[in-house]
């Protein structure tokens, strides 16, 4: 092989030669198998396993069927977002932000755009129509994201048909977002100071049609999955996270709300046009078991889809009546040509489908690129709870617990 030449007459290079020690050196196990007690067993789940929702490796120490400890190993999808961000102008970071949480890119873009706008001090200048379109697409994306969460969770538990149902309806949302900006998942639609384009003509009507289609489907999901006896037996009283622990672990999003705290940044921080919109914040009440179990978290997600639908409806109503499409409306009117914030440090947070997405940005006031841009990812923090809530449960329940936290490894590893 070494001596043969390839078609352009060059010796092919061997890029990598496997060595047993490489694996152990790059990601060593926490537990040494030779030091285990007689009844203990070490099982490695992942990094390539469908139920880990990506490339997550779980080193599991078992006592029979019961979990003694779980050590999550992450970083397999680390793409150096923060390092890249330190060499890019503010507006060029947006596509990278998309790729962090690729299931709900619109929400991440919205958070990032608002953070930079706050740095520039132009938050109040953004036209209402732009803000309503932003919230509209973000909430549509939130529904799509929750659909993935619920659908894949059902597959983890052993029900395949909900996934197909959810994917079917999610596809409609992705098609609509594709109609808006040309991309299915990684949009680059929300820009600093505005939008890429206005909504396409006829979008509002189609969207209303879709809402009317989706409403009965959501109650179908309730009946098919959430209230299903098998599903309840599998998830109720599993992976209980009580409220104090959730706060201590800085959990956010449906994980925190599932534990019974009514804490939604859309209400608490009241950013963008959310104060003008009416919606409820569902919290877990322990209807089927204990507050903060896997069922509560999933139920909160299913309810949030309905709330998001309410928001979408209100946004469409406003966009059709108060802030109508007009010929002189330019969504890029307030997009700054050159983004150079004054010297400052800010932390801006927003509610993503998975929880609090925060951007800590430091600028020196002299350049167009940030000195530091840290993304506080919700999944990363939520995943750190996993060892705590899965100790003492069955191995089969570990899969149910991982699924209920709803992680996207792209955001965990950044």
């Amino acid at each position: 092989m070494n001596n043969t030449k390839n078609h352009i007459g060059k010796k092919p290079k061997i890029q990598y030669q496997f060595d047993d020690s490489h694996l152990n050196k790059s990601e060593p196990s926490r537990y040494d198998p030779s030091l285990l007690k007689r009844e203990e067993m070490l099982i490695n789940i992942g990094p390539q396993h469908p139920s880990t929702h990506g490339v997550l490796r779980l080193e599991t120490l078992l006592n029979g069927e019961y979990i003694v400890d779980v050590v999550p190993h992450i970083g397999y999808l680390h793409r150096c977002f923060e390092k890249h961000a330190e060499s890019l102008p503010y507006n060029q970071i947006i596509p990278y932000v998309d790729r962090m949480d690729y299931v709900s890119a619109m929400n991440s873009e919205h958070a990032y755009a608002m953070a930079v706008e706050k740095m520039l001090g132009i938050s109040s200048q953004i036209p209402k129509r732009v803000e309503y379109i932003r919230v509209l697409v973000a909430e549509l994306n939130r529904i799509a994201s929750h659909f993935v969460a619920i659908g894949t969770y059902a597959v983890d538990i052993g029900a395949v048909s909900p996934l197909l149902w959810m994917m079917r309806d999610r596809e409609h949302i992705l098609r609509m977002l594709e109609w808006i900006c040309g991309a299915r998942m990684l949009y680059n639609y929300i820009w600093v100071g505005g939008l890429y384009y206005d909504l396409p003509i006829g979008f509002e009507e189609k969207c209303i049609e879709f809402i009317n289609y989706l409403k009965p489907k959501l109650s179908e999901v309730d009946r098919l999955l959430i209230e299903n006896k098998i599903f309840v037996e599998r998830t109720a009283n599993v992976g209980i996270l009580n409220r104090d622990l959730a706060i201590n672990y800085a959990a956010s999003g449906p994980v925190l709300r599932g534990s019974g705290l009514r804490f939604d940044l859309r209400k608490v921080d009241a950013y963008s046009v959310y104060p003008e919109l009416e919606f409820d914040v569902p919290i877990g009440k322990g209807e089927m078991g204990t507050t903060g179990d896997c069922w509560d978290r999933t139920w909160v997600r299913a309810q949030e889809c309905k709330e998001s639908l309410k928001i979408v409806e209100q946004c469409l109503n406003r966009l059709q009546n108060d802030y109508k499409r007009s010929k002189d409306f330019d969504p890029r009117e307030f997009c700054p040509k050159k983004i150079r914030p004054k010297e400052q440090e800010i932390y801006f947070r927003a509610e993503n489908p998975r929880g609090e997405l925060g951007f800590y940005i430091k600028s020196d006031g002299k350049s167009d690129i940030p000195l530091r841009c840290k993304a506080r990812s919700a999944c990363f923090v939520n995943l750190s709870i996993l060892p705590e809530i899965s100790r003492g449960s069955l191995l089969a329940d570990l899969i149910a617990i991982v699924g209920s936290i709803d992680i996207v490894l792209g955001e965990v590893d950044r």
């Binding site: 890029q15 608490v268 932390y347 000195l371 923090v381």
Partner: protein, 166 residues
Amino acid sequence: MAIVNSLIKKFDKDDFALIENNSDVECIKVSKEKFLEIIVYLREDKEMYFDYLTCISGVDNQEDGTFGVVYRLYSIPFDRHLDIIVEVNKTEKNELTEAISSISKYYRSANWMEREVYDMYGIPFEGHPDLRRILMPSDWIGYPLRKDYSTSEKYHGITIDFESEA
């Protein structure tokens, strides 16, 4: 200013300094030695009640020759924020700096956040239960988010610099 005022009453004035950084949140710089004491006070005191540690991020302050670690605390019942900065001196490339006290005993969310700062900036945390690299491989050389970081040429025999491939 309410937070800082009550801190002044409780602690020595030299222990912390108010930082002006054009943000709408109070920001204090704390010395390494007093840091743990102040954090415990902010967490345990009934009027402070900072129960939620949102974010820990490392910062490379190029001119000052220091690394900063910024802690963002949030109080859910009072709905207010506080930034705390702890600074450590820079060291030679690829060397660990002095240690900062770990607060993972008080805020368990700090466990992974501190590991991330350790991974990216090489700042160790004293008293951390499980200080390992988290995002980078364990045998990675250097701390990637330092400004003087340079990519190593090879990792496990794989050439990293793709330009030299041609």
